[in-house]
């Protein structure tokens, strides 16, 4: 069928079953927007900044498991999208971003709004394309979706010059696809899996180390089954919260820089690390030479480059977490769960010794209380997104995440301003769920314009701003390691968050007590509108425990005199 390149883009999105596109128009992408105007198969959400559009597509992808789609124009439209691409890249999120480009004849001439998009995005996309001929466009779009969602997922950029979206041509969307140079290995090596099973049976102190890969692979049920069958305790990374379920007695908690005592001690004393989709990030390992010092390592990962990158691996298994665990389960028939009983008891004692806790107060709201309260009231019904900083760590530590894809945050890149637009995407993908963005007074201002988007499209996201009038995490480091020189972290000068929300068609609440918080949350859910809940919390509250940067995981600061 003859059609324009712009129509081909829309047809491809329809063929890929895309329901929602987040984006922002501009000169070089106008032909595509003209076709979007003429169709009804998918909706387009006009975010108020390209970065937010990409984060929204990201939040949509993380919460639904589908490929998120964002659309931006050339030049500044694209450069604004780069942070969104990098955020998704670091957390392996499947996404296709379509950017306009100046016409082919202008490329390389420093044309108006021209920038080398494929050059800039090369290190922060899984793959990218500059479309140089209309004939290539359908195949490239098909490949983009396939590459984004297969293997280790990631964002793919398709940069399309304006003359190509205007040109007419024959549209045939490929049904099947095969890229001879790209064949992800899902299966895992059977012999290695068998050897790993033997190692598990021999171990005295094995530990499941679960990462975001378990979420991406939709392997949560299988991972839980593995833990239950073997009675091996588990720790989760920041990206894996919800995989084991908060109520699971085998879950010790989150490990790493702000992990709980039992989790970090378990990693320090284990004799066999069973890593499922984790990548030994520096915020998890602390000092590498001291990390899991006494352990052999089983590392299951779909990306071979992750295996042996930081930690020497004894049982490397390249494959999809779900597929590998499914094969591992029968290989573990007859495992004696009593073997690990003493180990479990040691770890339980560690947890009793230093549980994840905090000192509540009658005078001032504690952020941990706020998060636990949201957990009590909403539990597994809510999707929780977050920005980056203290509030993110408190949420990861204290919210009772019960299922995968319930917790959405920028773990790898640590992007402030991610939470609110990601929440919009998550809500659009899950209209029946309450979506709450836990944020700080620093982060929320980094994509605050999305109040307008949320109001226009009636996306009732609840933003809980844990307001300590500080750039809290940096302030905490200044307290601990910079002799309290609070360089540029005092955020005493603030807008009225309540008025700001109201000015954009939302609701604002100022909250200073527990009673006010309960009332505000109840009202916010009933009102079903975007809202800012400005919650005044203890100014100098710290995130604890903490492993100082570069320190060994077992050397945790459990309390601080300023606390």
């Amino acid at each position: 069928m003859q059609m324009s390149g712009a129509q081909m883009v829309c047809e491809a999105l329809i063929a890929e079953d895309v329901k929602t596109v987040f984006g922002y128009p501009g000169g070089a992408i106008m032909n595509v927007y003209d076709e979007i105007y003429k169709q009804n198969a998918f909706e387009h959400i006009l975010n108020r900044h390209e970065q937010a559009a990409v984060h929204a597509a990201d939040g949509y992808a993380r919460s639904t498991g589908k490929v998120g789609v964002a659309m931006v124009t050339s030049g500044p439209g694209f450069t604004n999208a780069v942070t969104g691409l990098a955020t998704a890249y670091m957390d392996s999120i499947p996404m296709v971003v379509i950017s306009g480009q100046v016409p082919l004849s202008l490329i390389g001439t420093d044309g108006f709004q021209e920038i080398d998009a494929v050059g800039i995005s090369r290190p922060c996309t899984k793959h990218n394309y500059l479309v140089k001929s209309l004939a290539d466009l359908p195949g490239i779009l098909k490949e983009a979706f396939y590459i984004a969602r297969s293997g280790r997922p990631g964002p793919v950029l398709v940069d399309i010059p304006k003359d190509i979206t205007a040109e007419m041509g024959e549209f045939v969307y490929p049904k099947e696809i095969s890229i001879p140079t790209y064949k992800p290995n899902y299966k895992g090596n059977d012999r290695q899996i068998k050897k790993a099973a033997e190692a598990i049976k021999r171990a005295k102190k094995p530990l499941l180390y679960i990462g975001g890969g378990a979420v991406l692979s939709n392997a949560s049920d299988l991972v839980r089954e593995l833990a239950e069958k073997t009675q091996i305790p588990a720790v989760e990374t920041l990206m894996a919260r919800g995989v084991m379920g908060a109520k699971n007695p085998l879950l010790l908690g989150m490990l790493g820089m702000h992990g709980n005592y039992a989790s970090n001690m378990a990693m320090s004393e284990t004799d066999l690390v069973i890593s499922l989709g984790a990548r030994f990030d520096d915020r998890v390992t602390g000092k590498l030479s001291e990390f899991a010092k006494y352990a052999d390592v089983i590392h299951v990962d779909i990306d071979p480059a992750n295996i042996g990158k930081l930690v020497d691996v004894d049982y490397p298994i390249v494959g999809d977490i779900g597929t590998v665990v499914e094969k591992l389960l029968p290989a573990l028939d007859g495992v004696n769960t009593d073997n690990y009983r003493a180990w479990r008891e040691i770890l339980n004692r560690y947890d009793e010794l230093h549980p994840q806790s905090y000192q509540d107060s009658d005078e001032v709201l504690k952020p941990q209380w706020v998060i636990e309260r949201v957990g009590e009231l909403l539990g597994e019904d809510a999707i929780i997104t977050s920005d980056v900083g203290q509030h993110q760590m408190w949420a990861a530590q204290h919210y009772p995440f019960d299922r995968p894809r319930q917790w959405i945050n920028s773990g790898g890149l640590g992007t402030m301003g991610f939470g609110f637009p990601a929440a919009l995407g998550a809500k659009r993908g899950n209209p029946d769920k309450t979506v709450i963005n836990i944020t700080g007074d620093g982060s929320i201002l980094m994509n605050v314009q999305e109040l307008v988007t949320a109001s226009e499209y009636k996306i009732p996201v609840i933003n809980i701003i844990l307001n300590n009038h500080f750039l809290g995490m940096v302030r905490q480091w200044q307290t601990f390691f910079y002799d309290k020189r609070y360089s540029e972290t005092d955020l005493s000068f603030q807008p009225s968050f309540k008025a700001l929300a109201e000015a954009c068609g939302g609701i604002g609440y100022d909250v200073t007590t527990k009673e006010e918080f309960d009332a505000a949350l109840k009202d916010a859910i009933e009102q079903n509108k975007v809202c800012f809940m400005n919650v005044a919390i203890n100014r100098l509250e710290n995130v604890l425990p903490m492993v100082p940067s570069g320190g060994a995981l077992y050397n945790m600061l459990l309390e601080h005199k300023d606390q």
Partner: protein, 156 residues
């Protein structure tokens, strides 16, 4: 950790920006490139890239894995048993002893390939460390320009 020298062959799709993907991977991750050659593989849609690099065994392993991870990469070959060759072109003033230069070049599989009004161009092709010796030896004839071709290699 001890740095080792490695010759890595990368077979890639012969498409635009594929070389940029390879080199920006080295640049972005701080890996060294000692030499790099690229040419299309005859009668195919593929190109052969030969990279000489140095790094600890762990770094070399990462380089190979990261190269393999690039979508247009078909194959990464890293072998200790490679036949390596390199060529070099050297420009000498015409006043130098041409028969000596000719003799030197023939010891390194080369010869004088061009003679102009005021200079001659000589060529040699040999193993990379022999090429280094050749360039050292050529110094006594006051070379005005030396162009090395980079290593090409093939599995034994």
């Amino acid at each position: 950790m001890q740095k080792v020298r490695r010759v890595i062959s990368v077979i890639v799709m012969n498409e635009s920006s594929v070389l940029a993907r390879v080199t920006s991977l080295f640049a972005g991750r701080g890996y060294n490139i000692d030499s790099l050659t690229v040419a299309p593989i005859p009668d195919s849609e593929l190109s052969h890239i030969t990279i000489v690099t140095k790094g600890s065994p762990k770094v070399i392993e990462q380089i190979i894995k990261q190269l393999h991870k690039l979508i247009p990469t078909l194959k990464v070959i890293e072998h200790e048993e490679m036949v390596e060759k390199e060529m070099v072109l050297i420009k000498f003033p015409i006043g130098e002893n041409l028969s000596n230069i000719q003799a030197l070049c023939s010891a390194y599989n080369g010869g004088i390939v061009n003679v102009g009004v005021d200079m001659v161009i000589a060529m040699a092709s040999d193993e990379p460390n022999r090429i280094r010796h050749f360039i050292e030896a050529a110094h006594r004839y006051n070379p005005c320009e030396v162009v090395r071709g980079g290593v090409v290699a093939i599995e034994r």
